[in-house]
Assembly symmetry: C2
Homo-oligomer: 386 residues x 2
DNA sequence: CTGTTAGCGCATTCAG
DNA sequence: CTGAATGCGCTAACAG
């Protein structure tokens, strides 16, 4: 009906508007930039009308080219599949919106090569800054960016040689919080499961904090080795670290097998209160309480937690939570549904702060690199509560 | 250590490179555009070196301004929180990558106003095309875009007055597939749960197909009214439509209450095979099979399914699947974990095709608006299988 | 208050 | 094969 099948009628330019309004381009430009006080009401009205008539929309590219800033910032995400990323993104968007920035979202999909290329692309589009949730970038890759180049702020992870602002979860505190919670609830055989550390600082920090707490209570957890062969110390709780390389099915298989052995050894139904709430089943579980070690899994993030949950369900049935407790950093949408306890990250705020930091940097505020560590929130669910 | 703390040293321009290489800008430009055959090997080498030395990176904005195309396309997403969107996005990214396009991702976060503004913003950045997963845009909003303006392709949903290519799930077929599956498995009281139809064509199509199938087997499902007061026909299966307005907690509450009544009335343990796999519990369920109506919920998409699952779990306990079967269009990550059956959309391909369509349009291929309907895949899980 | 003049960084005729 | 000139759409000094 009211379609406009006309061939693209060439967008109106500032020149067209000037002509239409019977004036010079400068005045149009001034109008566009809100310098109203310098325009006679009469001229201003004419301009307004002309713009309206021509449906004029200033070309941001041209503006950017001229004034040297285009209000674009890059947002490099390692993995949009991780709910964490999407949540951070919401914060980023809100902040950008508030600050008049436009985020260019780049999704590396867990490919280091992609990451490199996107960074280069962003540079090429002359973004004014980048906020990076790096996957495997090294200092060299970011060099043109963080160093003498455009300002950058890191999210969740540090990049080795790179000095830049960074904002993320207080990993130490979060891991301690989780570990202590498990300990306090009587679990004495805790497995910290994490993806390969690689360059990801947050993973390292979480695991380190976990080990520290465990060693404090008598249990010692060993090296970072992929096989988590780290037996506990004296009579206290035992802590283990298990590396789960989600990218390699074979490796996952192996790691999970090791875990299974431990779970089987821990004694049947020796675990958590379970999420089974019908009375018959419940009492059956309670009867065996105390037999064997109380085993708990501490997932370093949501993807790991999901992998574990899927495996456990496949192996032990829908009832798996009766055997093992699961605690995860990150609080994915299925956590509530499945009753696992979680440590929720302040994702929205992380994203928001990141943009604020970047904005300050863009505006030229010079400070030494800042770290902004935000606290996580423990959400106790059936999986780990007595 | 190897940091580069120098103050931003003004990026090299084509002029700098020309000077450095002792030649004119034209040759540099030619080099950049791959017109190698028109450059003496000697000159070419010098240019290469100069570029390297200056770490020159052509300014895309400037190029875009000049040649009138910037290789940017807009990707407007209604809701990134919906896994569907992220998956489609992966396809979009892959295709863009293959075609040398750069997607500007805009997230409307379920706000119509945002949507409008982003569309306007994209226009302002002179993107060459838009792929739109619209929330509530109307023809007028897209006018400057689809009509005489930049080319657009719709994803998942149509926009009323707008003629444009569209790619998405074959909703009719998918809804039929799901409904038939439930029927075939003996469910005789089926509730189709969907968000408010509003302008979202896919919701309407799915529900319509559902009703059609149901009416075919004797059950009739009534009007679109938010209270789903639609009793079945003769002695066959009964079909109901329940509208769940996720944005309004109060409305959700009301709708769920209605559902609860139906479930309670359907008789205890009259439902699915349940996901409980330990033998004791299972036999207890099987004993009562056949008593009361077999009730099943058909969620029109993942957000709805999640809402339902959470509610059911809260109300009937971890064991809820013993009472109600749940089938969902969309196959979220927690589906496997929880054992609900699902109809997986070919999300990646949807995204990929969308970009291909758009690309053709950008390249000037003129055709009448095309619809690309891709088939969904039924993934049967414990929830609905006997 | 308002218009004129220069470029921003690059691609493109069009002559060498 | 190569380079000088022109202008994309817009802003920023400078004059009126």
């Amino acid at each position: 009906m009211s379609t406009t099948p006309l061939a693209a009628p060439r967008r109106a330019t500032i020149t067209d508007v000037a002509r239409e309004a019977g004036t010079g381009k400068t005045s149009i430009s001034r109008y566009l930039n809100g310098e109203m006080s310098v325009l006679s009401p009469e001229l201003r009205a004419r301009i307004e009308a002309a713009i309206e008539r021509l449906n004029y929309q200033p070309n941001q590219m041209a503006r950017g080219l001229k004034r040297g800033r285009n209000r674009l910032i890059g947002m490099l995400l390692a993995d949009l599949t991780n709910p964490y990323s999407v949540e951070v993104l919401q914060g980023v968007e809100a902040a950008c919106h508030a600050l008049g920035l436009m985020p260019l979202i780049c999704h590396a999909a867990n490919e280091v090569e992609m990451e490199r290329r996107y960074l280069q692309l962003l540079t090429t589009y002359r973004v004014e800054g980048v906020i990076v949730n790096a996957l495997g970038v090294r200092e060299e890759t970011l060099r043109p960016v963080g160093g003498g180049g455009i300002p950058a702020v890191l999210v969740d992870r540090l990049v080795d040689g790179l000095v830049a602002d960074m904002v993320g979860l207080d990993n130490r505190a979060a891991a301690e919080l989780g570990t202590r919670h498990l300990l306090d609830n009587g679990f004495d055989d805790i497995w910290f499961v994490v993806q390969p550390f690689e360059q990801v600082s947050s993973r390292q920090l979480r695991e380190a904090a976990f080990r520290e707490v465990m060693s404090g209570v008598g249990g010692a957890s060993g090296a970072h080795g992929p096989s988590g062969k780290d037996e506990g110390g004296k009579g206290g709780a035992r802590g283990h670290t298990l590396v789960l390389n989600l990218a390699e099915p074979a490796a996952v298989e192996r790691a999970l097998a090791e875990l299974d052995r431990a779970i089987d050894a821990a004694g049947d139904l020796g675990g958590a209160a379970a999420s089974v709430t019908d009375n018959a089943t419940r009492s059956a579980i309670d009867r065996t309480g105390g037999k064997g070690r109380r085993i708990a899994l501490f997932a370093a993030n949501a993807p790991v937690a999901l992998c574990l949950a899927l495996h456990l369900k496949a192996r032990y049935g829908a009832d798996w939570q009766a055997r093992v407790a699961l605690l995860s950093i990150d609080d994915p949408e299925w956590a509530e549904l499945t009753g696992i306890t979680a440590i929720r990250q302040p994702t929205y705020e992380i994203g928001y702060r990141a943009v604020e930091f970047l904005h300050e940097r863009i505006e030229g505020i010079q400070t030494t690199a800042r770290d902004c560590l935000l606290p996580g929130e423990l959400i106790v669910r059936a999986s780990t509560s007595r």
